[in-house]
Symmetry: C2
Subunit: 247 residues, 2 copies
């Protein structure tokens, strides 16, 4: 039975996990409490065909995970899409209005069904300017996710994701190409709307140097222009809205 005490214990334990396996064990236990078959905690990192940033811990069938990955569903997946539009956690059966409809969705859901994944629920996890993700629990076809499980998932989802975040990047829990300090400084000023010459004056650099830093930053993100660079750096957490907010 999922209880507040169990959630409390989970929140305590999860701060102590050392690796993904430990996190998986805890999620498996939580899963058992809720009577569900599957769990999946994942960063949504397909944004730039990301290499290995972020963490994914799940007990889905390997077949399904492969099918999912081969199609690069990290962002297109209806559950992930819905989780980008919500914050409170939702049942999959209720997510259509959140994610809108896409022709491929039907295929994804039926394929999941084929792999023994029926109804489920998802707790979104967002931090402004950092990697996004979600924690999901799913049941075998025929069993409906219930309210109590959703409440329980709400209690443990945040801590679980926070733990994953720390595992992904023990240092500052940031994901992404990680610009150099100078590149970040230049980018932040540029994203605030400063022309290059003023960035140079502010940082006491030659305009050409600033241009060079921005150029290298663009290279890292494979971004054609300054706008794309800013957007991607924001999404990936190299810069945050707070830093870019004009003050």
């Amino acid at each position: 039975m999922p209880t507040m005490d169990a959630a409390h214990a989970f929140a305590l334990d999860v701060t102590k996990v050392k690796d993904a396996a430990g996190l998986a064990d805890l999620l498996r236990e939580a899963c058992a409490l809720m009577g569900c078959a599957w769990f999946a905690l994942s960063h949504h990192v397909d944004f730039l065909a990301a290499p290995d940033r972020g963490v994914r811990v799940h007990n889905y069938p390997e077949d399904w995970a492969r099918w999912f990955d081969e199609r690069g569903l990290g962002l297109t997946d209806p559950v992930h899409r819905a989780s980008h539009r919500s914050l409170e956690g939702f049942f999959w059966r209720n997510m259509k209005p959140l994610s809108g409809e896409r022709p491929e969705d039907e295929l994804v859901l039926s394929e999941a069904q084929r792999h023994g994944i029926g109804d489920g629920l998802t707790i979104p996890a967002h931090i402004p300017g950092e990697a996004h993700g979600s924690v999901s629990f799913a049941w075998t076809p025929g069993i409906a996710a219930n309210d109590r499980a959703l409440l329980f998932a709400r209690m443990i989802g945040g801590p679980a994701f926070e733990a994953a975040r720390l595992l992904a990047n023990p240092g500052l829990a940031r994901v992404g190409p990680r610009l150099t300090d100078r590149q970040r400084e230049c980018l932040i000023l540029a994203a605030k709307g400063n022309p290059i010459w003023r960035i140079g004056r502010i940082l006491d650099l030659s305009p050409d140097t600033v241009r060079e830093h921005l150029r290298n930053a663009r290279l890292r993100y494979d971004a054609k222009g300054g706008t794309v660079l800013a957007v991607r750096a924001l999404y990936d957490g190299d810069i945050s809205f707070e830093e870019v907010a004009k003050r």
Copy 2:
């Protein structure tokens, strides 16, 4: 006593609230269950000296609210800052490592204390590319926020904020200057890195028209350049990361 059943009831009731007063009543009840004195649900909308976007519901002393507003603490407030760096909810007494230190913080906290606001906890609420906010509960000085309250707040924070979001904008739950459709289309394509001439080709418009739409969009956001426009439109929810993600 905050229980899962109470949280469940809250989550049901909160979907039915019609106005801010109704939401306040529910939060007051939740507050009573947790034994706390204060609640505050708020969008963090000081970003652009925002006029009236977003919702704020609280029972803080008027004096304190005024003091807070006069200083424009919407973004600078240490609790809000910390909530921009976390997702799982936190006790105020533990938030220093999250928010970093600023000299003014001491003043804010002691001023809060002076108004009868002691320890508390905050549940952050973020949606990529939408308004940020948080739900906080606070106790009178001397009483410490407890774990059970945190768990309870985790269960009700999301639904409460979601309700506030819908109140703020019954239509699509979006906050911000709301660009016209054409402006949005142009901006999205521009933020993907397309040069104006290509945007024109895609939308079957003259480049000058595209330029015109972008110009008007910039005017609305009072944004100097395209980068600033994209960042602000992202922050305010006129466009979302998903739309801007290269595909």
